[in-house]
Amino acid sequence: MIRLGIDTGGTFTDFVLMEPGQLRVHKVLSTPANPALAIIQGLKELGVFGQEIDLIHGSTVATNALLERRGARLAFITTSGFEDLLTIGRQTRRELYNLMVEERRPLVDREFSFGLPERIGYDGKIIRPLDASALEQLVKQLKQHRIESVAVCFLHSYVRADHERKVGQRLAQENIHVSLSSDILPEYREFERASTTAINAYVAPLMERYLRHLEQELGEAKLKIMQSNGGCLSAKAAREKPVTTILSGPAGGVVGASAIAFQAGFRRLISFDMGGTSTDVSLCDGAIMTTTETEISHLPLKIPVIDIHSVGSGGGSIAYLDEGGALRVGPRSAGAEPGPICYGKGQEITVTDANLVLGRLEPKHFLGGQMKLFPERSFDAIEKLADQLKLKAEELAEGIVRVADATMERAIRVISVERGYDPRDFALVSFGGAGGMHACNLAERLRIPLVLVPKNAGVLSALGMLLSDVVKDYSRSVLLKAEAISFNEINELFKPLLDQAIKDLTKEGFSRQKIRLLRYLDTRYVGQSYELTVPASSKFRRDFDRLHLRRYNYADESRPVEIVNLRVKAIGLTDKPPLPKLEKKGKSLSSAMLDERVMIFDGQKYKAKIYNRQLLEPGHFLAGPAVIMDYESTAVLPPNWQAQVDAYGHLIMRMKRK
């Protein structure tokens, strides 16, 4: 079976096609107004249009609709008395020291937030039945206002969903899209549940139209959609819960990075994706980690997503001297327009300009030589600022890179050291346009012994999509004291979640042998508010204490524990052929050399070799200082580093032994 991963990005739509024995990579300019056009074009160019293939697609339709507030005309229905739930939120302001702080832009107009008389208690008792006539009145109003989509979140609906279901059934009769909080996220904490449900309802109609259109166009191909939890899902299931597709692009990158690292023999890795405006890092300790505490566009999103930490530091980050005399880099970015100074238009110094001045970027071969750079513009601008500081241009350029590196180092520390992991036990897997220029430096600062720059680093996200399994998450709040319940009883409580999971994955076409069900418990000491997720085994209590010690520096075995949520991660294993090895043509390393140039490290000038990544072969051994140019990414090998090309074509970089 042919599998194809398609990642729609802002500029390019990437394709990675896997046939037995070979990978094919293709790129097409994205068509933001209708992303399907680029997809169809790519399929035709690859010669697979209309064929019966497995197609896994990472879409930005939902994400962009949310970020740009172009979603559905939305209404919010809740228990009467709590109509402003989404506006009040957690009652806090975003910035502490801003007297004129702005509001987070809500998804629902206040006039479209409605309360219905009803009340369910924390214990599931109906305190006040749903007022049927008020519901009828409301349906009329919704139609009057031409509401397209509705989010429903009643208090305590995670215990008892009867009232939400009644509203859902009634609205379905009117052909209004409806998202129920008890379906989207049956967990306690009303604001976070309501927010996640509102995001789902907000993007659902748009996603529905897009996917329906795409499926029609694709004909025989089986369309799957990438999700932010690192798994994919049939287009049909994704339509019901589009909230799971938000942030799927970066998730694809992490899946791709870990798949490559696993195959290359590294089970513990930190993925490092440095782009133009930001850097995403994620830690994988034998398995990809997810979190339920994400925010997007200042709105909480509580579904499980890959735990990716993002900082505003990238190739386009702007460097400037602030009024107190500190050299700042980012978070403002020159982006693609006007871009860094060396692109010809920009006026503000960026990290890319600094790299160019240091010889870590080769102007002649940028984007395969298709884009002209202006190194003298970068140099002049950096020299001008350097003069002010009584520094040499190269010193300032190194300073800019160091400040950017410090921000990224901090990001990696947040996901490793601060969570009790020692970076020395991990490999750094670097991708994204600018990552390879900084990876070795960062590794050195964090004492990471090894850097892996994958072959096809530019399309890693699409590759990850291609390699992903079908994954669905299920959860349920139980709020039980662990002492009051036996492990057998806990197992009983899991049953409905497991039954549902098997039912759903069977629908996705998996036989029972291909289904893996992982069970977890969100656990905390009685009285705490944040949970740690541990595998649901009879030893969960011990695992919880250990994890608590690792994360927060203390544990108390005698303190009672509370089980807050049950979680099931259901995985449908897809058939994936292993990644093919790179063909060895037997050419020498020197034939891959493009050029030589001067590169600066720690104020010293070095003569560095420039290599063409496409011509490197397994077994080639490179000594730093060197620059390895790929079509859209560059890797820098510092003087005290060396690299080897492995059987798959990945660059494995290590520090030279002293």
Binding site: M100, E323, G325, Y530, N553, Y554
Partner: protein, 529 residues
């Protein structure tokens, strides 16, 4: 461009930025650990805590963006601990005495020295302060309407809770015997000790990497950096004397309004902030200690700085604070102070901003709700026969600014604590929340409208004692430049169908089925409508 004196040019702008980010990240990391592993709702859900690092003199180097009301008080705690004891490696000091570096009694601060090999005295300190749900005293939640601090809870002067790595069980047991929820307190103190350990460990790592000399140098440079920026900010304010006055409704006992007055004198890049025209300290608990007034002053000037600057000792250097002892803004023991921290701090902020509005009207917003609407209650939970104690605060309207409408239903100025989810509250307490909405038309009209306050309605499912400590029930949050004031707050009790208006500061017994309604003030409007 900054004029740089010779001694200041000894720093490297690149290193400065790198150390700045390092120091701030340590404080933030301590905060994350504390918030996630603690037990008091005030800490974990409401984020009523602060973490910071200090140099060898106890001067702040960096503080996490935690809670403004702790800004000034943190270094005072550290200095008070340094003065009171000889630290040894592995020690941790504990304190809450408002007259010795504390804020109010529920805020318990832990201070740890950081020893570096080769030095016989601590080179740095780390500290964290967190609001515990109960520290004893005459009412659950320890925010009573008291006349003396002795009624407010257990007073802890700076003493060693941990000696050379070993918890002093005797002292801990003594503290725990004086509070209503000892198991929870012990958990919070453990989380606080662990958070300090994280800060300590990170500082030792940094010294290992960069050397003590460079770290110490850049701590000084970072304080100078913040000083340069605040001086530039002060310079942007026209020279002159600007005064303002406003009132607290009452002290909770006498019914007499309490005057707060300030004169800000700006000259070049320095400021004098003089509170001499404020009333003498009062019998009720709205007295602020010096730390609170300092915090509010620091907060207001910090807000004038555009952009992000790390908070540290440099911020206060060009600002001279004049607060006569024995006034409501610098009370003498044994005055009760529980409300100084939460209520008077907001009014101090209001008068400072009111004065500054005369100097720089285009940068100052109208008054925000000006109260934290503190609601404390406790009793016996009929479901399990166990005592319960709970404390929460309610947001209000934010004042409209020269640029936009004020936010609605939000905490402002000295606090930014989160609400507790209703679904959590109802699960753990014998209470039902019947309403939690914005309060329509409570924001003052104006060219830009003040934010609306909140209405929160509680139904008690068991008899309980309630304490309410709230303000702006008599005097409205002011509008500016022709904007209307925000609507005053209201407290109402419905018992057996009888509706009764309560005062702003009351302590009452309620029966099962009684309903309490708190309507919080709106923000003031800005500019003529």
């Amino acid at each position: 461009m900054v004029k740089m004196a010779k001694k200041e040019r000894s720093f490297d702008p690149i290193e400065l930025e790198i150390f700045k980010s390092l120091f701030v990240s340590i404080a933030e990391e301590m905060g994350v650990a504390l918030c996630r592993s603690s037990f008091s709702p005030n800490i974990k859900e409401r984020r009523d805590f602060s973490c910071a690092l200090f140099d060898a003199d106890g001067e702040t180097v960096a503080q996490g963006d935690h809670l403004p009301v702790h800004l000034g008080a943190m270094p005072l705690s550290v200095k008070s601990a340094i003065e009171s004891m000889d630290f040894e490696p592995g020690d941790v000091a504990v304190l809450n005495d408002p007259y010795r570096g504390g804020t109010h009694l529920p805020d318990i601060t832990l201070v740890s020295p950081v020893f570096i090999k080769g030095f016989d005295r601590p080179l740095f300190y780390v500290a964290n302060r967190a609001h515990h749900s109960d520290v004893g005293g005459i009412s659950p939640g320890s925010m009573p309407l008291a006349r003396e601090i002795y009624q407010e809870g257990v007073i802890i002067p700076p003493v060693k809770l941990v000696r050379r790595g070993q918890i002093d069980r005797d002292l801990l047991n003594f503290i725990l015997a004086n509070v209503r929820t000892p198991v929870e307190r012990e958990g919070d103190l453990t989380a606080q000790i662990a958070a300090n350990r994280i800060g300590e460990r990170r500082l030792i790592e940094i010294v290992g990497k960069y050397g003590a000399k460079r770290v110490l140098e850049y701590m000084k440079h970072l304080q100078n950096y913040t000083e340069r920026i605040i001086r530039l900010t002060l310079q942007s304010i026209p020279d002159g004397n600007y005064d303002f006055e406003d009132y607290l409704d009452d002290d909770g006992l006498s019914g007499r309004p309490v005057r707060l007055g300030v004169e800000i004198r700006i000259k070049g890049d320095e400021a004098e902030v003089d509170f001499s025209s404020s009333d003498p300290q009062v019998e009720g608990s709205v007295n602020a200690n010096y730390a609170i007034t300092l915090s509010a002053t620091l907060y207001v000037f910090r807000c004038l700085i555009r952009g992000d600057v790390p908070y540290n000792a440099g911020l206060m250097r060009p600002i001279k604070l004049i607060v006569p002892l024995g006034t409501v803004v610098n009370a003498r023991p044994p005055a009760a102070v529980a409300g100084g921290n939460v209520e008077t701090s907001q009014r101090i902020t209001d008068v400072l901003l009111g004065a500054l509005a005369k100097a720089i009207p285009e940068r100052i917003p109208a008054a925000s709700s000006g109260t934290m609407n503190n609601v404390t209650f406790g009793g016996i939970d009929p479901r399990n026969g166990q005592p319960f104690a709970y404390y929460e605060t309610i947001g209000g309207g934010m004042g409209a600014s020269p640029e936009r409408d004020g936010l609605s239903g939000v905490h402002t100025h000295m606090t930014n604590t989160r609400n507790t989810p209703i679904e959590a509250l109802e699960h753990y307490l014998p209470i039902r929340i019947r309403r939690y909405r914005l309060r329509p038309d409570s924001g003052g009209q104006g060219r830009f409208k003040g934010g609306d306050g909140i209405i929160r309605e509680y139904e008690f499912l068991a008899p309980a004692r309630i304490n309410i400590l709230s303000e702006r029930r008599r005097f409205s949050p002011y509008g500016l430049q022709g904007g209307q004031p925000g609507k005053k707050g209201e407290n109402i009790l419905i018992s057996r169908g009888q509706k009764r208006r309560l005062g702003g500061k009351v302590s009452i017994e309620v029966k099962s089925g009684d309903i309490l309604i708190i309507a919080t003030p709106g923000g003031g409007g800005f500019g003529r409508p």
